[in-house]
């Protein structure tokens, strides 16, 4: 049995633990024996992308130690998978530590969740049931850094009860961009508002993506606009086997609950439309 290490990412761990739990549920349902190496913390992307490569060195070292002995790493974040695959060697090279460079070169392969499901496990129907109108935002790092292409859409299309609605301008950046969201807050918000506008134009009840960082930004705007659109990580949709948007949620959300969202564009999405 291969040892699969779950990389939950710092943001998911502290702010969105439901996503991690959904990944555990999902992978176990598919017969994967997952482990959560408790020594893991953060991949170091926040430091790297802000220009603090030296401060990322202990994080990369910690990451390598934590996942040592795993055969594969799976993570519900295109951005962090991209960071491990494309940034860790930069950090290691800069550290001047040949041991760290070797460690990065020999690290187990890191998969974003949908890559693991489709490419390694060979499944597109994960047995999910989610009877809602959904639109999918392919986050930049999934789309361009990793090239996950139509994998997420194929997975979503196999979910029973789910209606997939095409998101206009899907491939455009939502404006999160890590520290960009704060350093260039106005530009970031302008980009995010355009994204939120497109999301609302679909009439979807739920916006789905493979990165909680981007979703946090978009949902922060949707929620400030009191739009009633809910955001969910793709893993949570794929893990669902019964209607998730329950009475509890509707009560909590008050009059802006998903039940009151008006569908005004029910065009079903085609895989090509999302992955072009």
């Amino acid at each position: 049995m291969p040892r699969v290490g779950l990389m939950i990412t710092c943001l998911n761990d502290a702010l969105f633990p439901d996503t991690g739990r959904a990944v555990v549920t999902l992978l176990r349902r598919l017969g994967v024996d997952v482990e959560f190496p408790a020594a893991q913390t953060c991949c170091g992307q926040p430091m790297v992308n802000t220009g603090y490569l030296d401060d990322a060195v202990p994080l990369v070292r910690n990451h390598l130690d934590a996942f040592d002995g795993c055969d594969a790493i799976v993570t519900p974040s295109g951005s962090c998978a991209g960071s491990v695959r494309h940034q860790h060697h930069l950090v290691a090279r800069r550290s001047g530590d040949p041991g760290l460079v070797r460690g990065v070169e020999q690290a187990p392969p890191t998969y974003e969740l949908t890559e693991y499901l489709v490419d390694v496990l060979g499944v597109t129907d994960v047995g999910a049931y989610f009877p809602h109108r959904v639109t999918y935002h392919p986050t930049c790092h999934s789309l361009r850094m990793l090239g996950v292409r139509d994998r997420p859409v194929r997975l979503l299309r196999a979910v029973r009860g789910l209606t997939l609605l095409e998101l206009p301008g899907a491939s455009e950046c939502c404006g999160f961009g890590g520290t960009f969201a704060v350093k260039n807050a106005e530009t970031s918000i302008a980009m995010g508002n355009d994204k939120a506008h497109h999301v609302r134009s679909t009439g979807a009840e739920v916006l789905v993506a493979g990165d909680n960082s981007c979703l946090m930004h978009i949902s922060g705007l949707l929620s400030r606009q009191r739009s009633g659109v809910r955001v969910m990580h793709l893993a949570e949709v794929l893990a669902a086997t019964e209607p998730v948007i329950s009475g509890r949620a509707e009560r909590a959300a008050g009059p802006h609950s998903v039940g009151s969202a008006t569908p005004d564009a029910r065009t079903a999405v085609t895989p090509e439309a999302v992955t072009r």
């Binding site: 710092c10 761990d13 502290a14 702010l15 969105f16 633990p17 739990r21 555990v24 176990r28 024996d33 959560f36 408790a38 020594a39 893991q40 913390t41 953060c42 926040p46 430091m47 790297v48 802000t50 220009g51 603090y52 202990p58 994080l59 070292r61 910690n62 800069r94 930049c140 789309l143 455009e172 950046c173 404006g175 999160f176 961009g177 890590g178 960009f180 969201a181 704060v182 350093k183 260039n184 807050a185 106005e186 530009t187 970031s188 918000i189 302008a190 980009m191 508002n193 949902s219 922060g220 705007l221 929620s223 400030r224 009633g228 809910r230 949620a249 909590a252 959300a253 008050g254 998903v258």
Partner: protein
């Protein structure tokens, strides 16, 4: 807007002004959206586009690896073909050479082919100061020049102007610069183009000296190339007696055959055309045909410093197609002026700080951060410049430059140090999460419910306000994933 980028505030501040101008944002979204679509269409027609990109990148990389050799070969070829080669270390030297040549010919005006290199060195001001009028002949450049404005796009310098504004500029300014616009000028694009044509014609026919740049310079043959859409460049390159070309040293190509690849990559990437309308090539002097005196000024102006940087040097592969501007979501919303340099957009964000050097002024240092790192620029770049990689690399240079100059670390330095310390240990991370969870329980009382049962916070004061002014803030989970796994997760299988 005055005729210089000097004094432009740092990017976030300059961007704010642009973001408030809704007309500008609409113009930009429309213009970039249209050209994006055109580009995607014609690029999609080429099955081997990726091979072409790789070939383009490889040619440019070979040039950069052996730059001195190719430059010397270019000098020999040019000289043999009857041209005079000048070397300019910086803007001042280049400007002095051009001004000197123009003066030697006793002229008080030159016609110009659109050229980024001459903008980079601000040649027009240098000529103006020497009493020589420089007339821009590219339509968009002319609009910028007449409007005492600054260019905001590499290919379409007046992209921020609409037709009504252009009509006004023509009516107001053309008369004092030469042939006046007809009094009944409308904002019909054809009428505007006709007015420009009349205005420029007398300049083409009168000017004795022309100034151009070059898109490519072939070392093997000493051939310079200019590609353009209007034919005005060709007028300048053929009618005057003297032609002076200011050429960045990275523009050299080894062989004539290399043009084959570049002339396929460039028009599809820049204007979304299969082939550009006018491609002019000239090799030194041809007796009795065209300019009888040809000068080439090979310009460094910081390029050898860029070359010395292993990661950053890929910016010198740039062929100035502007595809990265047209797909950039940041550029689309802020426009080009916010970048405070003649090179705006993603390429400006990596080229300008390298040419100027980081760590000297806040405006330059803000440029590598003017990106969400979405990667759209890399995806379209015809010579595969990994712009996000260079951006991150330059951010580290900015951080390093400031660390060296500061005795007291900045707030950001300390925050990164603290985060690094906390996040390099699972025990410390867990403790921080438990504290946040406690805070979250408190915050939950202040927050309001969002769809899905989560609680969010509205605007909060202090350092988080840059986020929360317009975006609700998620409240930390009461139980982290890590804590859940410890409690139940691991055994639940």
């Amino acid at each position: 807007m005055s005729g210089t980028f000097l004094g432009t505030p740092a990017f976030p501040t300059a961007a704010r002004a642009a973001l408030e101008d809704s007309q500008l944002r609409r113009n930009l979204a429309h213009a970039t959206g249209t050209i994006r679509g055109k580009r995607a269409g014609v690029v999609g027609e080429v099955d081997e586009w990726e091979q072409l990109r790789l070939a383009g990148a490889a040619i440019k990389d070979r040039v950069l690896r052996h730059l001195p050799d190719y430059l010397e070969q270019l000098e020999r070829s040019l000289t043999a073909a009857g041209a005079t080669v000048h070397w300019a270390r910086d803007a001042a030297e280049a400007n002095a050479i051009v001004v000197g040549l123009a003066k030697a010919h006793g002229t008080d005006e030159v016609v110009k082919v659109k050229s980024m290199a001459t903008q980079e060195i601000d040649l027009n001001s240098a000529l103006e100061n020497a009493g020589i009028h420089a007339w821009e002949t590219d339509l968009a450049e002319l609009i910028v020049q007449l409007g005492d404005d600054l260019p905001s796009h590499i290919l379409v310098p007046a992209i921020h102007r609409n037709r009504a504004e252009i009509r006004e500029i023509f009516l107001r300014e053309m008369g004092s610069a030469g042939r006046a616009a007809p009094a009944d000028l409308t904002d019909d694009p054809r009428r505007l183009a006709a007015a420009a044509r009349e205005h420029l014609r007398e300049k083409f026919l009168r000017a004795r000296v022309a100034v151009s740049g070059a898109n490519f310079a072939v070392a093997e043959t000493g051939t310079l190339t200019v590609v353009e859409s209007e034919g005005n460049g060709r007028m300048c390159l053929t009618l005057p007696e003297v032609l002076i070309s200011v050429v960045g040293i990275e523009k050299v190509l080894p062989t004539f055959a290399d043009l084959d690849v570049m002339l396929q990559l460039l028009p599809r990437s820049s204007t979304g055309e299969r082939m550009n309308p006018y491609t002019s090539t000239w090799t030194g002097v041809t007796p009795g045909d065209g300019p009888q005196e040809v000068h080439v000024v090979l310009l460094d102006n910081g390029r050898t410093d860029v070359l010395a940087d292993r990661t950053g040097r890929q910016a010198l592969r740039c062929i100035r197609c502007s595809a990265c501007l047209n797909v950039c979501p940041v550029y689309e919303r802020t426009g080009g002026h916010a970048y405070g340099s003649v090179y705006p957009g993603p390429i400006g964000a990596i080229l300008t700080p390298q040419l100027r050097g980081v760590g000297t002024d806040p405006q330059t240092d803000s440029l590598p951060y003017a990106s969400s790192l979405c990667g759209a620029c890399f995806e379209v770049c015809p010579v595969r410049i990994d712009i996000p990689e260079v951006l991150v690399h330059l951010r580290s240079e900015v951080v390093d430059a400031h660390r060296e100059h500061r005795r007291v670390p900045s707030v950001q330095d300390m925050a990164m140090k603290a985060a690094s310390w906390t996040l390099s240990s699972a025990a410390r991370t867990g403790a921080a999460e438990r504290a946040a969870g406690l805070g979250g329980r408190l915050a939950a009382k202040l927050g309001r419910p969002a769809p899905g049962g989560r609680t969010v916070l509205g605007a909060v004061p202090g350092p988080a306000s840059a986020w929360s002014d317009s975006r609700d803030v998620p409240v930390p989970a009461e139980e982290s994933f890590r804590a859940w796994w410890e409690r139940t997760g691991r055994d639940e299988a």
